[in-house]
Symmetry: C2
Subunit: 221 residues, 2 copies
Amino acid sequence: MTVERRTTRRRDALSKERIVEAAIDVLDTDGDRGQVFRALTVRLSTGVGAIYHHVANKNDLLAAAADAVIAPVMSDATTDGEPEETIRAIALGIFDSIDAHPWVGAQLSRDPRQPAVLHIWEGIGGQLNALGITGAARSDAGAALVNYVLGSAAQHAAGPGQAPRAADRSAALATLATEWEQLDPAEYPMVRDEAARLGAHDDRAQFLAGVDIFLAGIRTL
Amino acid sequence: MTVERRTTRRRDALSKERIVEAAIDVLDTDGDRGQVFRALTVRLSTGVGAIYHHVANKNDLLAAAADAVIAPVMSDATTDGEPEETIRAIALGIFDSIDAHPWVGAQLSRDPRQPAVLHIWEGIGGQLNALGITGAARSDAGAALVNYVLGSAAQHAAGPGQAPRAADRSAALATLATEWEQLDPAEYPMVRDEAARLGAHDDRAQFLAGVDIFLAGIRTL
DNA sequence: ACCTGAACACCGTTCAAGT
DNA sequence: ACCTGAACACCGTTCAAGT
């Protein structure tokens, strides 16, 4: 059925969209430390130069890939319901994206001016507006929430509990708990105390608890 | 006067402390992208292998260097005054360190288990304790504040306004404002709105405003 | 035990040559 | 205009040989 197309051009033309799409796959599989460009030439059966014809450099590629992940999440989460509820949905949407694509967590911290971060700003700023917060107060509240979300994202992406299988995850947490229990109680009393709670630890629930703390603080503005 | 020492050993022995100290200088000057190890061999007049004898790898070196910057800030800021005031002092101390050593901003996001991050946890957790917050509530509140601080740190370190001279800084902000004013108003209404405020923007004050929003949220727990 | 530095490995980027 | 892929550049890491 696709014979016509197949004879007119043997393969889809390269485009930034196709490259970004392939890059997301590669990054999900190998992480951002792997040989991203080399893997792309294989997957797209092309040369490196062709990729550089559509993309300025690795930074540009990662920024575009992160935005391709984040932008749709933002528009999906942004509904016309309760602003606070929408903010929670936005935050959870970002959290879940980073859980699925850990490299996005690190990427968002790399440059505050990249499209993905601006889209997050837009989403959160719009809801603060809807809450009647404007001017400098909105700047401050927006920065607080955005920075909290990005900080949590980076820490979550870099943390243990990122192991693909649940068994590896709980094993990693157990190892960490043992490590922390052996720390000097004089220097690290709090961390040792946390070790006891690691087993029942739920990053996602804790992330949401943090969003609620900020929302409560914003209500006092 | 130091003749005796000079003749017994021609140069101080290498140690992790000396390497870390030199690394902080190198990182401050060249950033973490520069050829850190090569610069270290020059500064310490030694070979790369000697450095690897005291340090496992670049990650280990950066983690140790970040902790050498952060740990003293934490113990200086931690006094027995008002817990909320101490939390502000801790947060500002971290902010100012990252302002002085931008590479620390990125490093703290790289691994939640590194000593510098654990020290931050200790400092903040201790003050939350003093506020009477314990158990799971302290975990949640602590995670929220630590993640906010680390997120702000990373964004600040990666942002403009990091130019050494004030003139470069305001030039960078002006360029950014112009860029943002040209964004599509339909896609980026909030960011365009922020552009107008960029001139008077003070990252440090906004960071502190975020800490205060968080503290207000904590009071409602 | 500690140091030396050449060699290696890794991966992003360039560039001359092709269609 | 777009693609090809070998060559280059950069920088962390290893390792055989020294003291």
